[in-house]
Assembly symmetry: C2
């Protein structure tokens, strides 16, 4: 309904603020999303933001949402590159692609990555595997979709699925966090990529 809200005086200030926020997050993570700076970049007074966001946290949440969409897009690109192959093999390749894409995004856009996952997300939203359409997906929805394929093909017993989902998710996310802002920070990026691939392989074996 009325997606044509649009422009009043400024022309969709909300979107402009989110975009400024993304630029800030890109170079400094969630803490760099400074409300006043975002309004400055949008060419507007600080308080104007309060017509569109309850407070700074609300703005950051919106930026986080957009970042999740960007991450999902990166993963979808990786998925699209998976060659077709007979059933199970392909499903496993797709699972691998999700992990690799996730880590690739973390490496290429550390600021956005940290912002995307520094905020509690609506679980129903994040988990739902459908929600297609560009920019609409979330990384966890994509993982769920791939796991659906695996269970459907019988490669993953249904009763083990929940734990498998947690493991896959935890392993990849944990590795990314350790490298980005944890004790492993500063690990050489190529090295990190290589180790990341091994973590993905082992997680798949664990599943």
């Amino acid at each position: 309904m009325s997606a044509e809200r649009a422009t009043y005086r400024h022309g969709d200030l909300r979107q402009a603020l989110v975009e400024a926020g993304i630029a800030l997050a890109r170079e400094g993570g969630p803490d760099a999303v400074v409300l006043r700076e975002a309004t400055r970049r949008a060419g507007v007074s600080p308080n104007a933001a309060y017509r569109h966001f309850a407070d700074r946290a609300d703005l950051v949440a919106a930026v986080s949402d957009s970042s999740q969409s960007l991450a999902a897009a990166a993963i979808e690109a990786e998925l699209a590159a998976v060659p077709s192959a007979p059933g199970i093999e392909r499903a496993e390749a797709r699972l691998r692609a999700v992990g690799i894409g996730y880590l690739r995004f973390a490496r290429d856009e550390p600021g956005l990555f940290r912002t995307a996952f520094s905020v509690p997300t609506d679980l129903d939203r994040a988990f739902s595997p459908e929600r297609s359409g560009p920019g609409g997906g979330t990384p966890f929805g994509l993982l769920a979709g791939v796991l659906d394929e695996l269970t459907a093909s019988g490669a993953l017993p249904a009763e083990r699925r929940p734990a498998a989902e947690m493991l896959a998710w935890s392993a990849v996310h944990g590795f990314a966090m350790l490298v980005l802002e944890g004790p492993l920070r500063g690990l050489d990026p190529d090295m990190a990529t290589a180790v990341g691939r091994r973590v993905v392989e082992m997680a798949i074996r664990g599943i």
Copy 2:
């Protein structure tokens, strides 16, 4: 050398500030460690902190260090409860204990947990398995020690050790982060504990 620095006017202000910082971190994570509030609690003027820390980040780093020690203590407690058993079984039980202890600390002290791992750590320090003595260990050093046992007993081939270490670490840390400040935030604690155990089991299987 000269650990007897101690007291000038205040009686080891540095330590007092770290303790105030820990209290703050406990209830609000790293962002809650605000320098002025710490000095306030220590009954001292804001600038006094600058005689002991270069800046706020330096104070947070010190608090993070202490938090890591507390985490290590929690894990050691868990390790101490592992019953003796024949070689390999015991080693595996110890591995499990490290994972459980790590997650337990994350659940019981979320603020300290996040503070402990929100800061880049000196890798050499964090990794070294020796560094015994109460308050001196780190969670990752303890994990390394247990893995040493596993390789020594032949249960874990030496060449697979590095990746195994990464997987164990990533899975457990990742799960904790997802629950504490990621999309899984708000998951029921008991539920989280149960799922956490399964993640630990699967990670062990993956190793």
